[in-house]
């Protein structure tokens, strides 16, 4: 607060140069025509991308479509803990849990549906997942849907997008002394 650097912006003076329109118009024209000829001849400044044919690279952190990771044996990694559906501000994740035969897994999602129409791509679900099961790094742009039903991404779809997760889980040392 002590160093209050205030600068007063300078208003250009209205001298004859400015008042006669032409020089400044010519200056503007020079800028636009420079761009015009540059792009006409080389196209080097053109920024737009022909979207479906050319795709820009998404950054690593880009939040795209969700995907579900799977365990080493290909089973879904999600254990239906509902953390993601709890944190979801848009209420777009619907999970039905069920009992797994394997008591070491115990619980798995019988249904896992993401309503892409409601999803606001905030990424909180990924952060909330305690099992590294849901991710948004598929790099796939959420595409439009021609039918409403298609916008409900189910478990199979999400697993198809998914990959294995390498995260170790279940205890620092992993091993449990056998009983």
């Amino acid at each position: 607060m002590s160093t209050h650097n205030v600068t007063v912006v300078e208003r250009p003076r209205r001298n004859l140069w400015v008042q006669s329109y032409l020089p400044e118009v010519a200056k503007g024209l020079a800028i636009t025509s420079r761009q015009f000829f540059k792009n006409l001849l080389t196209g080097s400044d053109i920024q737009t991308v022909q979207y479906p044919e050319v795709k820009r690279d998404y950054p690593l952190r880009y939040r795209g479509l969700h995907r579900l990771t799977y365990r080493d044996d290909g089973q879904v990694r999600c254990v239906a803990c509902m953390c993601c559906s709890t944190i979801c501000p848009a209420n777009c994740i619907h999970i039905t849990a069920a009992e797994h035969e394997d008591t070491s897994i115990e619980k798995y999602p019988a249904e896992f549906v993401i309503d892409e129409l409601r999803c606001i791509v905030c990424g909180l679900c990924v952060e909330a997942c305690p099992c590294d099961a849901i991710r948004m790094d598929s790099g796939i742009h959420a595409h439009p849907f021609y039918e409403r039903d298609k916008a409900f991404l189910n478990k199979d779809y999400l697993l198809d997008l998914g990959g294995p997760s390498t995260a170790v889980q279940g205890g620092v040392l992993g091993s449990r002394s056998a009983r």
């Binding site: 709890t86 849990a97 205890g171 002394s177």
Partner: protein, 508 residues
């Protein structure tokens, strides 16, 4: 009357009170796992340790009795350090199970960890493996790894039910809750152990993986399983009841409820009447339906041969309105009653009368009505004395044989109006179907076997067109351009209270 100081605040309590209770009276929470007010005190979890001046070491507050001039600190550095140590110790062998554990969200371990510890563990040893997802009884699942050996469940079986199925087996970190050989946890109150289990070691099979507890809302309600009227928390998610949990009421059920009652929530959504129907017309709104029904009643329900069946499942408010309805719309037709048939009872919480409001019914329609039960109704029907029948419920205490007879008799009726929450196998016979709400969808009250008037509150809105019984009656009366003496719940409830109070005064 000893006076003691806790965290600088003075309190005078009865002699023999424990420090933990005295602190609770002052509004000071002392964390605890093994202590439960209804059970004996083993003081084995050491979570409730407090510092008492002049004592040589920290004392478990659940066990330590108050003494005159005692000075207690519940938040001193020593206590905090002790709590941290206890939690760290308990968590050494606790599995990383929160995602799959049903207790997550109402887990004492989670609450206390965040409130009193919230630091990483210094212990890195392999966790001891124990039984996972082991069905310890027909209705309860046990997870040994999550168990912190507070022994509340063991004490419950010893002290409350007296069945003593459970014990602690093995030693040291291999200790585990087990049933005695050849036994399983199958007493009629077995699911209470899941409520008192502070962690997710004991969970009910019914609620297993059904819904996360933090997502549910809770509404105070009354169990309708029998005439005891146990107080419950009705927990629901997205308009659907998920479970009952006993609600503390020292006059009725204390901390407990029976397994059968706990499972009775399943009926809330089973077999519901889908929509209004008047004769063939099922695309109706209430006002239109009310006019049509009123016209039908006005045409047929006059003179002899009209009968009204009240339900011992309905709320007092519904029955009050029904009485008024019989008076104004049905020319004081004879009243019968119906409900579930009697079953087994015991000396603790289970009553033989399986209807929540028979006492209320008797209070409102007079004790005489109890004689006019469903079997009398059947006789009258078969005698042909009844042309028009208005039933408030579809629950009937009939055997299958009797049911057949009843159906045959009902088919001959001129007009059969069924106002019920459930189909009960009668919806196809009814000329008029008026869906009503269950107690989970309306405000109201029941009178239990001991004559106690207990209120319950609407937990969620019905998914169908169902309305509370009293509102159905009010609407039907309006359809006939008549007014009952009340038009809203408050006035009805007030009237009920006045009447009940008068009845009780007279009784005394």
């Amino acid at each position: 009357m000893p006076t003691l100081t806790i965290n600088g605040k003075e309190i005078t309590v009865d002699p023999g009170t424990t420090v933990l209770r005295a602190a609770a009276m002052l509004g000071i929470d002392i964390p605890h796992f093994c202590y439960h007010p209804a059970l004996s005190v083993p003081a084995n979890c050491r979570m409730c340790l407090v510092e008492i001046e002049k004592a040589r070491k920290l004392e478990p507050s659940c066990y330590a009795k108050v003494g005159e001039g005692m000075v207690v600190h519940t938040e001193s550095p020593k206590v905090i350090a002790a709590r941290r140590a206890v939690l760290e110790f308990i968590l050494v062998n606790h599995p990383v199970d929160c995602p799959i554990c049903d207790q997550a969200g109402e887990c004492k371990l989670q609450d206390y960890y965040v409130a009193y510890d919230s630091q990483p563990s210094r212990v890195a040893v392999p966790k001891v493996g124990k039984a996972k997802a082991y069905p310890i009884g027909p209705r309860v699942v046990f997870d040994g790894e999550r168990c912190i050996l507070c022994t509340r469940c063991v004490r419950f079986c010893d002290e409350i039910t007296g069945t003593s199925e459970l014990t602690v087996a093995e030693r040291g970190d291999h200790s585990e809750i087990r049933t005695f050989p050849g036994k399983e946890l199958d007493n009629p109150y077995s699911m209470n152990v899941t409520d008192i289990c502070p962690v997710g070691a004991l969970t009910t099979r019914d609620f297993r993986f059904k819904c996360r507890v933090w997502l549910m809302s809770s509404t105070d309600s009354i169990c309708t399983g029998c005439a005891k009227g146990c107080n419950v928390h009705l927990e629901h998610f997205q308009g659907e009841a998920q479970r009952y949990r006993p609600r503390f009421n020292p006059e009725v059920n204390e901390y407990w409820m029976c397994d059968a009652g706990r499972m009775s929530y399943l009926e809330l959504h089973a077999d519901r009447l889908p929509s209004l129907r008047v004769l063939e017309d099922s695309e109706l709104s209430w006002p239109r339906a009310a006019r049509k029904v009123a016209a039908l009643l006005g045409e047929k329900a006059t003179g002899e041969g009209v009968a009204f069946v009240a339900s011992a499942q309905s709320s007092c408010e519904g029955l009050m309105a029904g009485r008024e309805f019989v008076r104004t719309m049905l020319d004081d037709a004879p009243v019968f009653w119906t409900g579930r048939p009697d079953g087994d009872g015991d000396a603790f919480l289970i009553r033989a009368d399986k209807n929540p409001n028979r006492a209320g019914l008797a209070g409102i329609f007079g004790v005489e009505v109890l004689a006019q039960d469903a079997h009398r109704l059947l006789q009258e029907l078969e005698r042909g004395a009844i042309r028009v029948l208005y039933m408030m419920d579809s629950t009937l205490p009939f055997t299958s044989d009797e049911m057949k007879r009843f159906r045959a008799a009902v088919e001959k009726l001129e007009l059969f109006v069924l106002q019920a929450p459930r189909r009960g196998g009668l919806d196809d016979l009814a000329d008029v179907l008026l869906p009503s709400t269950t107690h989970a969808e309306q405000d109201g009250s029941f009178v239990n076997e001991d004559g106690l008037l207990q209120s319950f509150w609407a937990a969620y809105r019905p998914r169908t067109q169902a309305l509370a019984d009293w509102e159905v009656f009010v609407r039907l009366a309006r359809g006939a351009d008549r007014e009952l003496s009340f038009s809203d719940f408050e006035s009805l409830h007030g009237a009920l209270h006045a009447e009940q109070g008068a009845a009780q005064d007279a009784g005394e």
